[in-house]
Subunit: 276 residues, 2 copies
């Protein structure tokens, strides 16, 4: 992590401190007013935060199929009506045009802009997909006493492209991207038990142990995130990661796709401990 | 159950006897050749059997949303490409036009015909949805020693309209239809534990105990199935049922909808004990 990022993260954490016990609606209200434009980690603790993908309707059914076929990397927690910016199944008065703190705009698969409001880009043919993320199961692992080295040591979790292919749907395809958390094997077994209760937040690991089995040559060369700290006796534990659908969407090069900016999640009203 | 139905069921069971340990592909082959045209219960034991809904493409995205929003009654285990009769994510060489033993054809919500092959009805705009059913979790409950009165006493499981609304999507809406299995409370608690592992087969119960809480006035007046046998000390345990989406689809009155005939399921190659 660069020094400036650490600094940003620390300031974000301080800010979350005040908002950790705020309601999801309160935090979304601040986001809508433009008073929060950065990361949402630690805010409205206990509420499910989700990844975002907004796509034109001619790709919506294919993306719904992609999520159905790949539930570990793409756990679908909410889908809007076509053209409707509201998400009533995920919370009260959620307007997806303004209630995420930062959006990435992709055209033909290329990132062209990051903005804090997409009202001007909204169209009648857009459908919003919200996918579960790993925040909630990390809370459950911590509550269970499973050690999480990236939190102990203060690094961004490393992510890798595996050689496990997702099941394609229409233009969406590609490898499962995995995040890696090192821990002793006894804790890894317990982590399987704990995360089996969270199929909507990537669920159980996809692999434990030898990284080469899933096509990862060097744990010290992550595709995203920081270098891991692996303690003596630790084995690597790999979970499917929300970067998987983001990479699949970018590779499909849709004319328009809007996602959250990494770390700036949608905060829903749903309890994050609810398995489905 | 009428005498004739009992007789049919007994003959079906005898026939399944030979096919209980056959492969799913072998049973589908017999179905494709027209040698099996009735119920599939007990055949290819250990393989997931699924409910079927085939819909025109202009309703497909709404039905995908309906399933996403109502995972207990509508656990989506497979979706075809638009216009493609094959289901490669559910098994080898599954042709949905011929590989289900009996189909119901609905036009504008009305049952107009039951047929053993739909090749002549296939169109480029049709999408196949396969939903999990309760066969697998009943096997898991039996293996765990949970008593299932409808199997002990030989009656069809009773089903009721609850007052719990599904979350609508487009034209699809309506109450959750529940099936009811009576058992002692200690077994009901164990049944929650066991079925929590099967979110793709209706998962945990929606209610235990007083039927009036979910809008059921009289357990002896089921909307479908037989009268239950409730033993002393039993409490009623209610699970979301696959009749829910069937009723929602019929109420939506699509110009065309093709389902399986009740009891004549699609036999997939997937292991039925696999949670997702």
């Amino acid at each position: 992590m660069a020094l400036r990022d650490v600094d940003d993260a620390l300031r974000a954490e301080d800010f979350a401190g005040e908002l950790a016990h705020a309601s999801a609606a309160h935090v979304r209200g601040l986001i809508r007013k433009g008073e929060i434009t950065g990361q949402t980690g630690g805010m409205a603790l206990g509420k499910m935060q989700g990844n975002l993908a907004i796509l034109p309707s001619d790709l919506a059914m294919d993306f719904a199929r992609y999520c159905q076929r790949n539930p570990k990397p793409c756990p679908l927690v909410g889908v809007s009506e076509t053209g409707d910016p509201m998400l009533p199944t995920l919370g009260v008065d959620i307007d997806i045009r303004s209630d995420v703190s930062s959006y990435n705009i992709y055209r033909d698969g290329e990132l062209v802009n990051s903005v804090t409001d997409i009202s001007g880009l909204w169209r009648d043919d857009l459908t919003t997909f919200v996918l579960g993320c790993s925040f909630s199961f990390e809370e459950a692992l911590l509550a269970d006493g499973v050690p999480l080295r990236h939190l102990e040591e203060g690094y961004l979790i490393p992510m890798y492209r595996s050689n496990i292919a997702t099941t394609p749907a229409g233009p969406f395809a590609g490898p499962i991207v995995v995040s890696m958390r090192p821990m002793p094997m006894a804790e890894a077994i317990r982590a399987v038990e704990v995360t089996s209760r969270f199929p909507m937040m990537h669920g159980t690991p996809v692999h434990i142990g030898d990284p080469s089995v899933i096509g990862i040559a060097d744990l010290m060369k992550p595709a995203w995130g920081d270098l891991p700290v692996i303690k003596p006796g630790d084995v690597p534990v790999f979970w499917a990661c929300g970067v998987t659908p983001q990479a699949a969407v970018r590779a499909a090069k849709p004319p328009l796709c809007i996602t959250h900016t990494p770390g700036s999640m949608l905060i829903t009203d749903l309890p994050c401990g609810r398995p489905i």
